[in-house]
């Protein structure tokens, strides 16, 4: 009898051990290092708040956080609009289950390919001599190529939406697909119009998906350094890309301190979302 009680521990042990050594301890390490000192060559273990006070005293960090939030907010709004609209189409307009799954898979396939390549693939489209500009010039709509398309905030956000829309689409689709069609028929019988059904039934019942998707998109955008570096042409920076610069210069403690602040902010946001929607219990349905 006591043997069967041990079973789940044995079964969960490999995952627990790996997660503990590869996530738990490293995060603690980052926390510890954030109090150390460094001169760009070596690290000096000690306990001091300077890394934090220094970062907070510089105005730059607020700009970085602001910029990161703006990227995240715009991307979030766009991906929710896209994810919701596409899910709505798939769930309520594509009635055939086989087609539904096929179309969803069509959207999901790029997820399993390289993000770097998907990002790079915008370059020949958006560049000064890219497909978009040359087409517009040929059509006579513009005289000179549009510069803001590539190596700009526009390019950064476009890439984010391109890369992360799936993370919103799939969870929203999942929660929307669980809506009982009878509910909508009942609302129609009660005289509700399309808008009312959307507002009072579909959106509230999709909120787990929206919340889960938002967590994914927010954390992906806030954790990115590569897209913002390449697609802004080095002109913009986010918290993590600034951190990456610190790391490249071996200022690990400073990078760690910034990282800890970012993690704190991210976890606060995630906790706030989880407070509104109990994702774990909803996932179990």
């Amino acid at each position: 009898m006591s043997g069967s009680k041990l079973v789940p521990y044995v079964q969960a042990a490999p995952l627990a051990i790996i997660m503990f050594t590869m996530v738990g301890i490293p995060l603690i390490t980052v926390l510890v290092i954030s109090f150390w000192d460094s001169d760009g060559i070596s690290l000096y273990p000690m306990f001091r708040w300077e890394n934090y006070t220094e970062i907070l005293s510089r105005g730059l960090v607020y700009d970085l956080f602001l910029k990161t939030f703006i990227y995240a907010a715009i991307t979030l709004v766009l991906t929710i609009l896209i994810g919701f609209t596409c899910s709505y189409f798939l769930v309520f307009h594509v009635k055939n289950l086989k087609w539904q799954i096929a179309l969803l898979l069509l959207c999901t396939v790029p997820f399993w390919t390289s993000n770097i390549i998907r990002m790079v693939s915008w370059i020949p489209f958006l560049g000064r001599e890219g497909l978009f500009n040359s087409t517009l010039i040929q059509m006579g709509l513009i005289d000179a190529p549009l510069d803001f398309l590539l190596y700009s905030d526009f390019a950064v956000i476009l890439t984010y939406v391109h890369l992360f829309a799936l993370f919103m689409l799939v969870p929203i689709f999942n929660s929307m697909a669980k809506i009982n069609p009878n509910l909508i028929e009942a609302a129609q019988d009660a005289g509700a119009g399309s808008w009312m059904i959307l507002r009072d039934i579909i959106i509230p019942l999709s909120r787990t998906g929206i919340a889960l998707g938002s967590i994914f998109v927010l954390t992906l955008v806030m954790g990115d350094f590569f897209v913002v570096r390449v697609m802004s042409g080095g002109q913009s920076a986010s918290v993590v890309s600034a951190m990456k610069n610190n790391i490249d210069q071996l200022y690990y403690p400073q990078a760690s301190a910034m990282a800890i602040m970012l993690i704190a902010v991210v976890l606060l946001i995630v906790a706030a979302i989880l407070r509104v929607v109990d994702i774990r219990s909803e996932l179990a349905k």
């Binding site: 079973v7 789940p8 079964q11 969960a12 490999p14 995952l15 627990a16 790996i18 997660m19 590869m22 996530v23 738990g24 301890i25 490293p26 995060l27 609209t85 596409c86 709505y88 189409f89 309520f92 307009h93 009635k95 069509l106 959207c107 396939v109 399993w112 390919t113 390289s114 770097i116 390549i117 790079v120 693939s121 915008w122 489209f125 560049g127 001599e129 497909l131 040359s134 391109h162 909508i184 399309s194 059904i197 954390t219 954790g223 990115d224 350094f225 590569f226 390449v230 993590v240 790391i247 690990y252 760690s256 990282a259 993690i263 991210v266 976890l267 995630v270 996932l283 179990a284 349905k285």
Partner: protein, 274 residues
């Protein structure tokens, strides 16, 4: 609402158009670089095509300008396969464990969520510093693998939860009632029934690892993975060779996806056969 099949209202066509645009948005740019990777020898990074050739593909493997692509590919494939196996096995058992509440299950679940949520580069920093403090050398097959697992395992676990949602625990009991030992139950009942789901977990394990960049950068030590090599190329390669490597690595991904889906479809079909 024009949800009925009988009449498709304006909204259906508007939404269908939106959806089509989204699919074009997803695939269009990729198709452009697939085409451009066959650019002629004198061609550049954008249209027009100056002839078609396989020049840039052969350039990838013959030129030393692009770093150690072959080595990166080998290491990425190796990491992908290791991550795939470990993810499938760990997540299968952990998923089974999570069917009952056990001490620490909440903590473990939140550790997994935290791992998904924290910026990858930072976890990479933590892992590399942890290894260095212990005096271990960073190796792609050890610290690199660990970094990849911190990404693939939580994903795999979430998918495993979804897969196990449709698993009836009475199947285990029915097998036990027939006298099966725990090992027989696992081998003859649990794993075969869950197999299509396990393929999905494995697919995630491989592709997430194969394309992983931020967690790898600081953890692989001296030997780079393919995404790191490619990310280096984005800043210093200005020829269609960049697109050629994109085509190659995407082709590998598509092949893996097709293999996984083919396998799932084959199993489902065999089960449904009359």
């Amino acid at each position: 609402m024009s949800a009925s099949n009988a009449k498709r209202g304006v909204s259906f066509y508007l939404l269908a158009a939106f959806f089509t645009l989204f699919v074009v948005f997803l695939y269009g740019p990729m198709l452009i670089i697939f085409v451009l990777s066959f650019q002629g020898e004198t061609g550049g990074l954008t249209f027009p095509m100056r002839g078609t050739s396989l020049h840039w593909f052969s350039d990838l493997f013959s030129s030393s300008r692009y770093g150690d692509l072959a080595g990166g590919f080998r290491r990425s494939t190796g990491l992908g396969l290791m991550s795939m196996t470990i993810t499938a096995v760990c997540c299968l058992f952990a998923g089974l464990a999570f069917r009952s509440r056990f001490w620490g299950s909440g903590t473990l679940f939140y550790l997994c969520i935290v791992s998904l949520v924290v910026p990858g580069i930072l976890l990479g920093l933590g892992i590399s510093q942890f290894f260095q403090i212990l005096g271990f050398r960073l190796q792609w097959w050890l610290s690199g693998l660990g970094a990849h697992l911190s990404w693939t395992l939580p994903f795999g676990l979430l998918i495993m939860f979804a897969v196990l949602n449709r698993y009836d625990n009475a199947w285990d009991e029915a097998a036990r009632d027939a006298g099966a030992t725990p090992r027989q139950i696992l081998g003859w009942v649990t794993v075969p029934i869950l197999f299509p789901g396990l393929i999905a977990v494995a697919l995630f394990g491989f592709t997430l690892s194969y394309d992983e960049l931020p967690r790898s950068i600081l953890t692989v030590g001296g030997k780079n993975t393919l995404p790191i090599e490619i990310s280096n190329m984005t800043t210093n390669v200005t020829t269609p060779a960049l697109y050629a490597i994109g085509t190659v690595t995407s082709f590998v991904s598509f092949a893996v996806i097709a293999l996984a889906f083919g396998l799932i479809a084959f199993i489902q079909k065999r089960r449904a056969r009359a």
